[in-house]
């Protein structure tokens, strides 16, 4: 038994990737929807366990754990290990919420839904552990197209989801084209597409390498939903159901940001590439913060509000990446965790309460007090209130920005927090200080089980803010073992 355990640990990177793929196949072939849900829970949970073990070994133990020489090749770096663990944990929470969709859809199509969710997770994990750019790009596309398929499944109940899926397809196609072109330019410059070769080899054509990485980052920015490339986000997330919103809005956005962080960690160390990339990321980040915040203020649909708010958060992550320093990358990872927790809380609470339009939040605290509390925790984390993880992320960004002399970044995050006071405050005001318009009794919403991941995310929001030691040490350790040695 001990030997089996050690063998599993030796192959934890492979198992973290393989369990969702195998789980997807088994879920799709399951004769019943309930069985497919159980398979999804087991597969996502196993992936989360292996991811956590991998992250522990890479971050806590230090250095790169040995991997078998034969078989699938991985490049294990701090960012990849950190994000693999985070993404698999987020997917497990989404899978927990997915159980309530069995009642909503009467099980129709759900085996495929869970299979696509697991494939999306596998894609993002593959991108985090990829050895080369080709594997990374294929993994990203697997994740993206699987998420589109999951959204399309909801199109039977909500046809606007199909329209959102088409926009996602457009964004994905343009992003893919740019990524392929960027990878070709990187190959021209370095003569290799292996990330470890890129990290150590000098660029023969620095300008081409800068252009290549720029194209890759812009291609990924489509998938992040960074402004002005975010046209698909409200169209896809607005009509999405609970499971789709969690997979697209939390898993997808965190995955795309994680891949961007990882790629930038290799590029930041390159002399000719780092500066140009930094400028591009800073611009994308600044514009995303401003426009995302303003659009969140004007949103009248809860999921769209959450989508715009998370775009603004993603802008903060891009600015952290743009700093190009270990402090910046550590701040980016903390921000991604904060964003994921807030997203889980908001989308999960929205699904549990069956709320679409903002006015439906009126009086939620009386109808569903725990759901209201979870939504509130997510909202105050978006504001960046002290003792929340959102405050932690912003603080780390401001620290890193001041250290690099980027005072404009401090201004941008201050603006984001002030804007969040408006839109998150509006949520809290409706939930606690308004009465419901309808006097109808609350129906037993099938999505109420979606509350449990939201509750866990809300607990993470608070606990990480009060006692942030573990998270901060993990993020610092991840940034200290960057792929490119930045």
């Amino acid at each position: 038994m001990a030997d089996l355990f050690e063998t599993a640990r030796l192959h934890s990177a492979f198992l973290c990737l393989a369990t969702p793929i195998i789980g997807a196949a088994v879920a799709a072939a399951s004769p019943s929807a309930r069985l497919s849900w159980i398979v999804a829970l087991v597969a996502a949970g196993a992936s989360a366990t292996f991811g956590a073990d991998l992250a522990w070994r890479v971050l806590a133990a230090g250095g790169t754990p040995s991997t078998p020489v034969e078989g699938v090749q991985f490049a294990l770096d701090g960012v990849g290990a950190f994000m693999a663990a985070l993404l698999s944990a987020c997917c497990w929470l989404a899978a927990c919420a997915g159980g309530s969709s069995l009642r909503e859809t009467h099980g129709r199509g759900m085996p495929w839904g869970f299979a696509l969710m697991l494939l999306s997770l596998a894609g993002w994990i593959g991108a985090m552990l990829a050895h080369g750019l080709i594997t990374m790009l294929i993994s990203v596309e697997l994740a993206w197209i699987s998420a589109i398929g999951l959204l399309c499944l909801h199109g039977e109940r909500e046809r606007a989801a199909l329209s959102g899926a088409l926009r996602m397809l457009s964004a994905g196609a343009v992003g893919s084209a740019l990524c392929l072109f960027g990878a070709a330019l990187v190959f021209q410059s370095f003569g290799s597409l292996s990330l470890q070769d890129i990290a150590v080899a000098p660029a023969e054509r620095p300008a081409m390498s800068a252009l290549g990485f720029g194209a890759l980052i812009v291609g990924l920015a489509f998938k992040i939903g960074a402004v002005p490339l975010h046209g698909w986000t409200p169209a896809a997330l607005g009509p999405a159901n609970g499971l789709s919103a969690l997979v697209l809005g939390v898993l997808g956005m965190a995955g795309a940001l994680g891949v961007t962080t990882r790629l930038a960690s290799y590029a930041a160390a390159l002399p000719a590439t780092g500066e140009g990339l930094s400028t591009a990321l800073a611009m994308l980040g600044g514009v995303s913060i401003v426009v995302g915040s303003l659009q969140a203020i004007g949103a009248r649909n809860l999921r769209r509000l959450a989508a715009y708010a998370l775009i603004a958060q993603a802008g903060g992550v891009l600015i952290c990446i743009a700093l190009g320093s270990p402090a910046g990358f550590a701040a980016a990872l903390v921000q991604i965790v904060a964003m994921s927790a807030a997203g889980l809380a908001l989308y999960g609470a929205a699904a549990s309460a069956g709320v679409g339009a903002l006015h439906a939040l009126d009086g939620l605290s009386r109808r569903a007090p725990f759901v209201a509390a979870a939504m509130t925790f997510g909202a105050i984390s978006l504001i960046g209130a002290p003792l929340t993880i959102g405050f932690l992320g912003r603080w780390r960004l401001i620290e890193a920005g001041v250290g690099a002399g980027w005072w404009w970044a401090v201004g941008a995050m201050t603006f984001a927090s002030l804007a969040a006071v408006f839109y998150a405050g509006r949520l809290i005001e409706r939930v606690y200080f308004r009465r419901a318009h309808s006097t109808a009794r609350e129906t037993r919403n099938p999505w109420r089980f979606a509350f449990y991941p939201a509750l866990i995310a809300a607990i993470v929001v608070i606990v990480s803010g009060v006692s942030p030691g573990v998270l901060l040490r993990a993020a610092d350790a991840a940034a200290a073992s960057l792929g490119g040695g930045a």
């Binding site: 606007a160 084209a177 190959f187 021209q188």
Partner: protein
């Protein structure tokens, strides 16, 4: 710049132009089917430019597989959209969605 570089440079420029044309066409397309074709055009442009730059065969094959995936998903989505909206015009689909949003806000 040697003369032997010219065809490669022309091909890479053509690839970039095709990519841009695909992006513009995707934005202006009046129906989902045309939009899907524009997507494939965009990816093909990226591949053409990459091939001209000497990208490895593995990257080109991967790109081709990605293009095929987008074409397949796009075709299926086009059929689903026309069934759901009983229309193939993007404008009518967007108008129907806007109407549904307005109705949700008023409910």
């Amino acid at each position: 710049m040697g003369f032997e570089d010219i065809p490669a440079r022309v091909a890479s420029i053509a690839g970039v132009v095709l990519m841009l044309a695909g992006v513009i066409a995707s934005g202006l397309a009046s129906n989902p089917a045309k939009r899907v074709v524009a997507h494939v055009m965009c990816i093909a442009g990226g591949l053409l430019a990459g091939a001209a730059l000497g990208a490895p065969v593995a990257l080109l094959l991967s790109g081709a597989a990605i293009a095929l995936a987008y074409l397949s998903v796009g075709a299926a989505l086009t059929v689903r959209l026309s069934e759901a909206y009983e229309s193939s015009a993007v404008e009518e689909i967007d108008a129907a969605n806007a109407q549904a949003d307005a109705a949700e806000l008023q409910s």
